[in-house]
């Protein structure tokens, strides 16, 4: 080892890097500068960017010794004298920060850009940030922020504010407010799970099977145990309690035991805890295993055939899901036009920038604390407790910040494993997955095969719809049944169809499991039905927008599961607003293929699609959330609930709701999330439900507190409670103005708690097949996309997306903007680039470089049109936002592609290789 010195944020430091040590290791682990994040560790994502002698470089891939004598600046070194750098301020002001994990890299890369180029054009910003990925994908906001920062640096004026229109007539709700955690996310002080360390902490690693289907016949850990620095090696025999976990069905082995079956390559076989991560890794290589391979089944259609290899003893069918309405046979007889087609969607990957990390820590009283960024903390608690055979009260889940989830952090990752190792060693144990392991192991979006048959009258009225879906749920159930149910119930689109039959087979295979992913099945079925609708429009000679308007769900209509929609159906307004905007830009015939002046190989056209998506769990599942609100002596309030902030802006929404209800300044409200000792259960962060369900819990809890304040004051001043006014943190009573802090003292004096817990139960829903209300609310959306296709190379780019979303009521316009930009970008990736490739059960896409996702370079202009058709039970009328924004983008793009060049995409993603060959064939025929 050699000593070296370098300047870090203007301090000279000396270190002795070990073998293989990178600059990021020095920064994060030796110097504690955890603002520099590691997302891929393979030079692919830009998250770890720092400046070296003023130039941005990837600290994860720079040997520490290379920095010897150089000047390194990290995100922590950007703020001067406690003032944020203009870039940091601009990222806050413009809502460019969502989960925040990529943000240090974005800011450092941008800092080098504007240092050398004080007035960068948008194209230059895109060039500079081209390899700095943000999966929350607020790319347009990032561009705005960089420009605003550059302007401020040039002019010396303060950084501008977002110019988004505010939305509302209420006091706080609807205002532009930056996220409360934005500052810590831009200055590098935000702590994600891997940023935490504890004295004596060990590092855990997991041995994965690496074979898709086999019996584990032998397992020998003796050599691994003997390696110096190894503190524990655990196998299935060491699990004291339940051997399986699972969100719905406990079918997923914590560790595969000898004689048991491996069902996918990511199955865990053994665990190691060691003094160093490096040692733990070396120990894994010393564990000896042998497997008796079995025939694999990796296609859901094959999985349903007789004689297919069985993934589970109970058979390969996880669930046959059925939707029935009217009489489809008669419907198709009646139909004047019938159109049928088949579509394929691939497995896709969440690729949240923060890989999974759990730390388990034994504490006094035989308790275990688990630090983890999880979407369902209470479920983590019960699953950990069951496997460790501990009472649930002995397990405390402490939520850390979460660097993106998108549905992929609902299942158990390393929580149980870390807990087992911590129990065995009586030391804190951190299990951090590298990107490779994360890709191998965690549940994805279901690959599907969807056959759609639509029957219509000549005037365009739909009369029948029959759909058959196959969903690949992989080796374990995860949320597969729920996801595929949503795919099925939404499979005939947001239309009135009198006769419907849909059958879905959610199948087990030997692929990595599939579970929740933004869009929750509807992403897939919306692609199928919206592609078919465009084909139907062409066949009937009707404008695609008109065809959709003719059949669109409206208040008073009945969905295909038999639900009468009573209110909050803004689909028609979404359609009309998008149509008006498209026509304003593209004239009377936006769907015609257009040539591009001076570039004869290019064609452009618009495409259109609509969708709807439930808010909340629905289907008869009790959907509830609890929240606690407490006023404190210092006049501030704290909101507590266990719902996850995965970047979507939950903290801001809850803060705003409490501020609104308690009539307090926003800054006086703090939100504490996800600590199972301190925060009541908010339920899962899934199904776009948190604003509605937990938002309502906070709203009601706040009201209870407010009423208690009023009651105290009414007694003291002897006035009727409703004569008391609350404004900006002051109570106005009889001409007096009391700060809330004083009201709290009064309440305490008379033994009244300035605190309330409220458990909110969302309206009851009905199970599928029973008719009635399957969901308590739906969001609606319409989108138009303009694409450009290169007829020579098959390359497709998206120029513009116009997105109208009926979200009931806008609570936080800045947060909504981020959700819409990010949603559109995910839809774009789903259409054009993303595919998690698995070959015969073996993962090809096992590095980030092998998973193509869109970057800032692929970002179109995104125009957001907000539609507000309030739902009466939602907080101020709000319903879900997180998923709806993403769903129609894919079919809008593939429909645009057809309009531009005449090729219909039935298989996602649209592959440039395939498209170029299709185009060449068409040309040959012509």
């Amino acid at each position: 080892m050699t000593k070296m010195g370098l300047w870090v944020n203007e301090h000279w430091v000396e270190v002795e890097p070990g073998p293989g040590e990178m600059l990021s290791d020095v920064l994060r682990y030796r110097l504690g500068l955890t603002g520099t994040k590691i997302a891929c560790d393979e030079a692919e994502c830009g998250t770890c960017t720092v400046l070296m002698d003023g130039e941005p470089i990837l600290s994860c891939s720079i040997p520490a010794m290379k920095a010897s004598g150089r000047r390194v600046v990290t995100i922590e070194g950007l703020a001067k004298n406690g003032n944020l750098h203009p870039l940091q301020q601009a990222f806050v002001n413009f809502g460019a920060v969502q989960c925040g994990f990529c943000i240090p890299g974005q800011i450092m890369t941008a800092a080098a850009l504007i240092e050398g180029n004080p007035d960068p054009a948008e194209s230059e910003i895109r060039d500079a940030l081209k390899d700095t990925l943000c999966r929350c994908a607020g790319y347009p906001s990032i561009v705005r922020a960089v420009q605003a920062a550059a302007r401020s640096l040039r002019t010396g004026e303060p950084v501008a504010q977002s110019e988004l229109p505010e939305a509302s007539t209420l006091v706080t709700v609807g205002r532009i407010v930056p996220r409360p955690d934005a500052v810590e996310k831009v200055n590098g002080s935000a702590r994600f799970a891997d940023d935490l360390t504890f004295p004596g902490m060990l590092y855990g690693r997991t041995l994965r099977a690496g074979v898709p289907h086999a019996i584990l016949t032998a397992l020998d850990v003796a050599r691994a145990k003997a390696l110096p620095g190894v503190r524990a090696v655990l196998t299935a025999e060491d699990i004291p309690g339940e051997h399986r976990h699972g969100l719905v069905i406990r079918d997923w082995p914590v560790l595969v035991g000898i004689g048991d079956k491996v069902r996918y390559v990511g199955d865990a076989v053994a665990l190691v805890a060691a003094d160093e991560r490096r040692i733990a890794e070396a120990a894994l290589a010393l564990i000896e295993t042998s497997y008796e391979p079995m025939e694999t089944v990796t296609d859901p259609v094959r999985a349903r055939e007789d004689g297919a290899p069985l993934v589970h003893e109970t058979g390969n069918l996880l669930k046959h899901i059925q939707v029935r309405k009217g009489d489809v046979g008669r419907g198709f007889e009646q139909a004047e036009v019938i159109l049928e087609d088949e579509y394929f969607t691939p497995t896709t990957e969440h690729a949240y920038m923060e890989p999974e990390c759990s730390i388990a820590r034994p504490v006094s009283g035989g308790r275990l604390e688990i630090y983890v960024g999880s979407q369902i903390p209470y479920s983590d608690r019960s699953q950990v407790a069951a496997c460790l055979k501990m009472p649930v009260e002995k397990v405390r889940i402490i939520g850390t910040l979460i660097g993106g989830g998108f549905g992929g952090k609902e299942d158990i990752a390393g929580q149980i494993h870390a807990a087992l190792l911590a129990k065995a060693t009586d030391r804190p144990v951190k299990i951090l997955y590298d990107r490779h392991e994360s890709l191998l192991f965690h549940p994805k979006r279901h690959a599907t095969r969807i056959r759609v048959r639509l029957g219509a009258m000549r005037d365009g009225r739909l009369v029948a719809s029959a759909t058959e879906l196959y969903g690949d749920t992989g080796a374990y159930a995860s949320l597969g049944e729920k996801v595929m149910t949503r795919a099925t119930t939404h499979s005939s689109g947001p239309y009135v169809v009198p006769n419907v039959k849909a059958d879905c087979y959610a199948m087990y295979t030997n692929n990595p499991p599939s579970g929740a992913f933004r869009g929750f099945g509807v992403t897939q079925s919306a692609f199928a039905v919206e592609s078919t609708m465009d084909q139907l429009a062409e066949r009937l000679g009707i404008n695609p927008i008109e065809l959709r308007s003719k059949n669109a769900l409206r208040p008073g209509t009945v969905t295909n599961t038999g639900q009468i929609l009573k209110e909050s159906v803004g689909l028609m307004e979404c359609i009309e607003r998008v149509e008006a905007e498209v026509r304003r830009r593209a004239g009377a015939d936006p769907f015609a293929s257009r040539r591009v002046e001076g570039a004869p190989h290019l064609r452009r056209a618009w495409g259109f699609a609509v969708c709807y998506k439930n808010t909340g769990l629905g289907g008869g599942a009790p959907d509830k959330a609890a929240a606690e609100v407490e006023l404190r002596q210092d006049g501030t309030a704290e909101v507590r609930t266990s719902s996850a902030e995965i970047g979507q802006g939950m903290v801001t929404v809850l803060q705003m709701i409490a501020a609104e209800e308690l009539a307090m300044p926003l800054e006086a409200v703090q939100v504490l999330l996800s600590d199972t000792d301190l925060t009541p259960d908010g339920g899962p962060t899934t199904a776009s439900r948190q604003t509605y369900v937990t938002g309502n819990a906070v709203r009601h809890a706040s009201n209870v507190v407010r009423q208690a304040m009023a009651a105290t004051l009414a007694e003291k001043y002897d006035v009727p409670p409703d004569s008391i006014r609350f404004v900006e943190g002051l109570a106005q009573v009889n001409g007096d103005r009391l700060p809330f802090g004083e009201v709290v003292s009064l309440m305490k004096a008379e033994g009244r708690e300035p605190r309330a817990t409220y458990e909110y139960w969302a309206p009851t829903t009905q199970a599928l097949g029973t008719g009635g209300d399957m969901h308590f609310a739906y969001s609606f959306a319409a989108q138009a996309a303009e694409i450009e296709v290169d007829l020579d190379t098959g390359e497709v780019s998206v120029r513009c997306v116009i997105a109208a979303n009926d979200v009931g009521r806008v609570i936080n316009p800045l947060g909504l903007q981020g959700q819409i930009e990010g949603g559109v970008m995910m839809g774009l990736g789903n259409a054009l680039t993303e595919e998690f490739i698995v070959e015969d059960g073996r993962v090809f896409s096992d590095r980030l470089a092998r998973y193509r996702m869109p970057s800032i370079v692929h970002t179109p202009e995104i125009v957001s049109l907000v539609v507000e058709h309030p739902t009466s039970e939602g907080p101020y009328g709000a319903k879900g936002v997180g998923e709806i924004s993403s769903i129609p983008t894919t079919p809008a793009i593939t429909n645009a592609l057809y309009n531009a060049c005449g090729v219909r995409a039935r298989r996602l993603p649209v592959d440039q290789d395939w498209l170029a060959r299709e185009l060449a064939q068409m040309q040959a025929k012509a």
Partner: protein
């Protein structure tokens, strides 16, 4: 997994060569490390005991004109190349190629020498240098030698010099003469694996009036080694560009390029289809002429 034990950053070529010699096969040159470290980390490279960082050796960082030639040190980064006035004046194809590599973070450390020494059939900088008919200087314990760049490649990832004992010092190539122009184009997939589906560089002398007096063309990946497309050059030399001439050239190029399918990246059919497209585009770029692509597909 430990990727290396020792890391040294010698200040002279001799010192670097001595360390390599002492390593007796277990030492390895690292420049930017953007290829090497991933190869080691992902198990595509045999274990390395000592990394010899050559980015502090002055002569390997130089860019200089000498008579009608330009010398380019192998440890020059892509960023430096892209901003260098001499190179901008003389070798547009190299500027275009290096400017497309990675993002700024990669270009700030990745070097032209690393791009060449990695010996992939389609390194962007490599293809540009090939069209410039560059020569490469190799230093070993026994002395230095110049070789034609083409001779440096043996197979995919394999070089004709011993990368555990020898060092690629730099390149030399001719300055741009009258009526000479160059261009580089590539066709990529969005994001992910950073290797071109097909790339091409062209050096060209001629004009609208005289047609193509002389031409050099390199293409990748079109075989185990980066390809100088000599048969295609011969077809084009002395001709004026027309649809017919380009069609003949495309045919020749398809004849000498050994295209194949790379799983999940490009099929051989796609590459064959792109060959003509890329030839047209690169020719247009290099000659400054507009060569419209015939299209007959409508919506």
């Amino acid at each position: 997994m430990t990727s290396w034990e020792h890391y040294v950053r010698p200040g002279s070529l001799d010192e670097a060569l001595t360390i390599l010699a002492e390593g007796d096969g277990s030492a390895r040159v690292i420049a930017g490390g953007t290829d090497l470290l991933l190869d080691i980390q992902q198990g595509r490279h045999p274990p390395v005991t000592t990394l010899v960082d050559i980015t502090g050796i002055p002569e390997m960082l130089a860019i200089a004109a000498a008579g009608d030639e330009i010398y380019l040190g192998s440890a020059v980064t892509h960023t430096t190349i892209v901003h260098d006035p001499l190179l901008n004046e003389n070798t547009l194809c190299l500027i275009e190629a290096c400017g497309l590599i990675g993002g700024p973070q990669v270009r700030n450390v990745a070097t032209i020498g690393g791009n060449v020494a990695h010996a992939l059939p389609a390194g962007d900088g490599t293809i540009a240098l090939l069209a410039l008919q560059a020569q490469a200087q190799i230093a070993s314990a026994h002395g230095r030698r110049w070789m034609d760049l083409e001779e440096l490649f043996v197979g995919p990832g394999q070089a004709s010099f011993d990368r555990s004992r020898e060092i690629l010092v730099g390149f030399r190539f001719k300055k741009r003469g009258p009526d000479e122009q160059t261009g580089f184009r590539r066709i990529m997939r969005p994001q992910g694996v950073a290797i071109a589906i097909l790339n091409m560089a062209i050096w060209f002398r001629g004009s609208n009036e005289t047609g193509i007096e002389d031409i050099r063309m390199a293409i990748g990946p079109a075989g185990p080694r980066p390809l100088r497309a000599r048969r295609t050059e011969a077809i084009l030399r002395g001709r004026k560009l027309s649809d017919d001439v380009i069609a003949q050239a495309t045919e020749a190029l398809l004849g000498e390029a050994r295209l194949r399918t790379s799983p999940h990246r490009a099929t051989v059919e796609y590459r064959r289809h792109l060959t003509g497209v890329l030839l047209r585009r690169t020719l247009a770029a290099a000659t400054g002429q507009d060569t419209p692509t015939p299209v007959a597909v409508g919506g």
